[in-house]
């Protein structure tokens, strides 16, 4: 039967096209993809340090889980602040992020619900960030917007009572879940 669909391609051209496509797919660098929004679920770990000299130096750690949408909202999440006493903050409504499409840098602002006590009920979690705090971090997207680095902004903490929240930088990486 005559093939009415398509002109027959040269085997040489087909082979060359296939080889070049394979080569480019293997060898080409990933595209600059920071225009992608920060959409999805994220798992993060961050660390900072603070202490007195002479005296003790201790690390401050944060583990985060965040869910973001394409409209710049952080819709839910948990921030576990671990500095000898562990407080599990939940992410409240009104939390946001934005990303500069030209270079993948941006800001993420988390409004936090403060738990009454820490994980083993022997510490007042209000004493970390104050009541109804917002914590702000600077971010930079990497790896085709599948990961981002973050570090605390200046100020890091804003509360109803205090807007001069200078805080040692807590820095780390978030990875898509």
């Amino acid at each position: 039967m005559t093939n009415l669909c398509c002109p027959r391609k040269s085997p040489r051209r087909t082979f060359a096209a296939l080889a070049i496509t394979t080569f480019l797919a293997f060898y080409a660098s990933p595209l600059f993809a920071v225009t992608q929004q920060l959409v999805g679920k994220w798992a993060c770990v961050g660390q900072g340090a603070f202490g007195f000299n002479p005296g003790t130096l201790a690390t401050i750690n944060e583990a985060l889980q965040l869910a973001t949408d394409s409209l710049g909202n952080v819709n839910s999440g948990t921030l576990i602040y671990a500095g000898a006493e562990n407080c599990d903050f939940t992410v409240a409504k009104g939390s946001t992020y934005n990303v500069n499409a030209s270079n993948g840098t941006g800001v993420i602002d988390l409004n936090l619900n403060v738990p009454e006590t820490d994980e083993d009920s022997d510490f007042d979690c209000d004493s970390i960030f104050g009541a109804s705090p917002t914590v702000e971090s600077d971010i930079v997207l990497v790896n085709g917007a599948q990961q981002f680095f973050f570090t605390g902004a200046d100020p890091y903490v804003t509360t109803e009572e205090n807007d001069a929240g200078d805080f040692v930088p807590i820095s780390g990486k978030c990875v898509k879940q």
């Binding site: 085997p11 040489r12 060359a16 394979t22 007195f52 997207l141 100020p155 200078d166 040692v168 930088p169």
Partner: protein, 182 residues
């Protein structure tokens, strides 16, 4: 001239592609390239008995490398609650065939941090208050098929106007980190 037949052409092409794939898998190219857009985080810790406190530092960085030069970007230098934003004005890198080398990034230093209560040159870098530029140099090692590199502050981390050997030795303060291709 004798015309190449299909079989010969296919054989040469397949051999070329295979050679490139094997060379890439072995990391056997002459020297890695860092062309592209990068996001990075470095962290460190510093303490001073005179000041009475110890604290962490961090640099969140974004920059572009093109034609073997750092062409643009921004470094957000966070030191104990104060944030200085430093535009990238240039830079260079070199790597050996094992992927080890140095990266230098030239920066403009703003007079004050983002909320205007911290002199960036003097208190951020230990330079003179009127110093407006500095170059940071990192020892780097490239990984994961040139999509990442690890970095530590080089000895003589800071150079440029006002950077003496003493405050050039900044490498242990700024610590270490990683850059990932965007």
């Amino acid at each position: 001239m004798k015309k190449m037949n299909l079989k010969t052409f296919a054989s040469i092409l397949a051999t070329s592609v295979l050679t490139l794939i094997i060379a890439r898998a072995d990391g056997a190219f002459a020297a890695p390239t860092l062309a592209g857009n990068w996001g990075c985080l470095t962290t460190g810790v510093f303490g001073d008995v005179a000041d009475g406190i110890n604290f962490s530092l961090a640099q969140l960085m974004q920059f572009t490398i093109s034609a073997n030069k750092v062409t643009s970007g921004v470094v957000r230098y966070h030191i104990s609650g104060q944030l200085c934003v430093l535009p990238v004005t240039g830079g260079t890198y070199n790597l050996n065939t094992s992927g080890v080398g140095k990266l230098s990034i030239a920066l403009t230093i703003p007079a004050l941090d983002v909320d205007g209560d911290f002199p960036c040159a003097a208190d951020g870098f230990g330079l003179g208050e009127d110093v407006e530029s500095v170059t940071e140099t990192f020892d780097i090692v490239v990984a994961d098929q040139q999509t990442q590199f690890g970095m530590v502050g080089a000895d003589d981390f800071l150079s440029g106007p006002g950077a003496s050997e003493a405050n050039g030795d900044f490498s242990s303060i700024i610590g270490s980190g990683r850059c990932v291709k965007q």
